[in-house]
């Protein structure tokens, strides 16, 4: 009995390239799910900020004008530059120049530390000026309590961001070490790319924190 079977023109097995592409897509999806949870974490704080800003517009403008806008702008420039070096690190890691990639990652870490140093100096300045509710708060305007609320939100949001950045700096370091001990890994540039996604996300959070805390008056 003859049976005509229709064979597909090409075998159904995915090629190595297709498998790799699929793995990378799954990695990116997982990372974006994690980042979505981070969006909701920071988003909740932004929501609280806007609700109270809507309730006390004058006090929030007053609190904002107490902050050092130039340090905020400088830190934005530092973080944007660190995103460029991170993107270049991923680019170099995807290519074949692992050494250049490590160099760009070290530069990214240094810029992250510079951001934290400037932020720390700013916190110190805020403390000296009596802008830290609970520790040293000497502001005495008509809407003292609402200005204190603004400053509490400022410290919580920037400190949570600084915590994320610190974790990011450590993770970039981990990626460098990982690349050194496993140079012939299955897909060596993938950890760099994933940590890059996290780094750029932290940059985006600051891109919104800067106008919201320093510029809205």
């Amino acid at each position: 009995m003859t049976q005509t079977t229709t064979q597909p023109a090409t075998p159904a097995w995915p090629t190595e390239d297709e498998k790799l592409a699929r793995e990378r897509e799954v990695n990116a999806l997982g990372m974006w799910v994690f980042l979505a949870s981070e969006i909701m974490l920071f988003g909740g704080l932004f929501l609280v900020y806007f609700v109270y800003r809507f309730r006390y517009p004058a006090a929030f403008a007053e609190g904002s004008s107490e902050l050092n806008m130039w340090l905020g702008a400088l830190n934005t420039a530092v973080l944007l530059t660190s995103s460029l070096t991170m993107a270049l690190a991923v680019h170099q890691a995807r290519g074949s120049s692992r050494k250049t990639a490590v160099l760009f990652m070290l530069l990214t870490m240094a810029l992250g530390l510079l951001f934290l140093a400037i932020k720390g100096y700013e916190y110190w300045q805020d403390y000296q000026e009596g802008l830290v509710p609970g520790l040293n708060f000497t502001y005495s305007g008509a809407e003292q309590q609402a200005v204190a609320l603004f400053l509490v939100l400022y410290f919580v949001m920037t400190a949570l961001h600084a915590l994320h950045l610190s974790i990011g700096i450590v993770m970039v370091g981990v990626a460098i070490v990982w690349g050194q001990i496993r140079p012939f890994a299955h897909d060596p540039a993938e950890p760099v790319e994933m940590i890059g996604l996290y780094w750029h996300f932290i940059d985006i959070v600051w891109v919104f924190l800067f106008p919201v805390l320093y510029l809205l008056r």
Partner: protein
């Protein structure tokens, strides 16, 4: 999949655009824009975030599924804001309720 990633030149162009937007937002801070001030500074922040997401985070070069996952988080955030301000922004539209 990774052949359509941005080039080094694109990264530097995006970085240049980001710095220009930063200068624009700081500059706009010193211009009396009145009620448009928050619109301008938040609009510029949105533009910056979009540039970072599309080019630095490779979303523009990614598959539709990755694009969907990337958009989902922001979409839920938008719903979060819309529903909350649907309440807070309209509460005092009916004065009798608050007397």
């Amino acid at each position: 999949m990774h052949n359509n990633y941005p080039s080094v030149r694109t990264y530097f162009l995006v970085f240049g655009a980001l710095l220009l937007l930063l200068i624009a937002t700081v500059g706009a801070h010193f211009v009396a824009l009145g009620p448009f001030q928050p619109v301008v500074s938040l609009g510029i922040a949105l533009l910056k975030a979009l540039l970072i997401i599309l080019f630095f985070m490779h979303v523009k070069a990614s598959s539709g599924l990755v694009k969907l996952f990337a958009a989902a988080g922001f979409l839920w955030l938008l719903i979060f804001f819309l529903l909350t301000f649907g309440d807070f922004a309209t509460r005092y539209w009916v004065p009798t309720l608050n007397q």
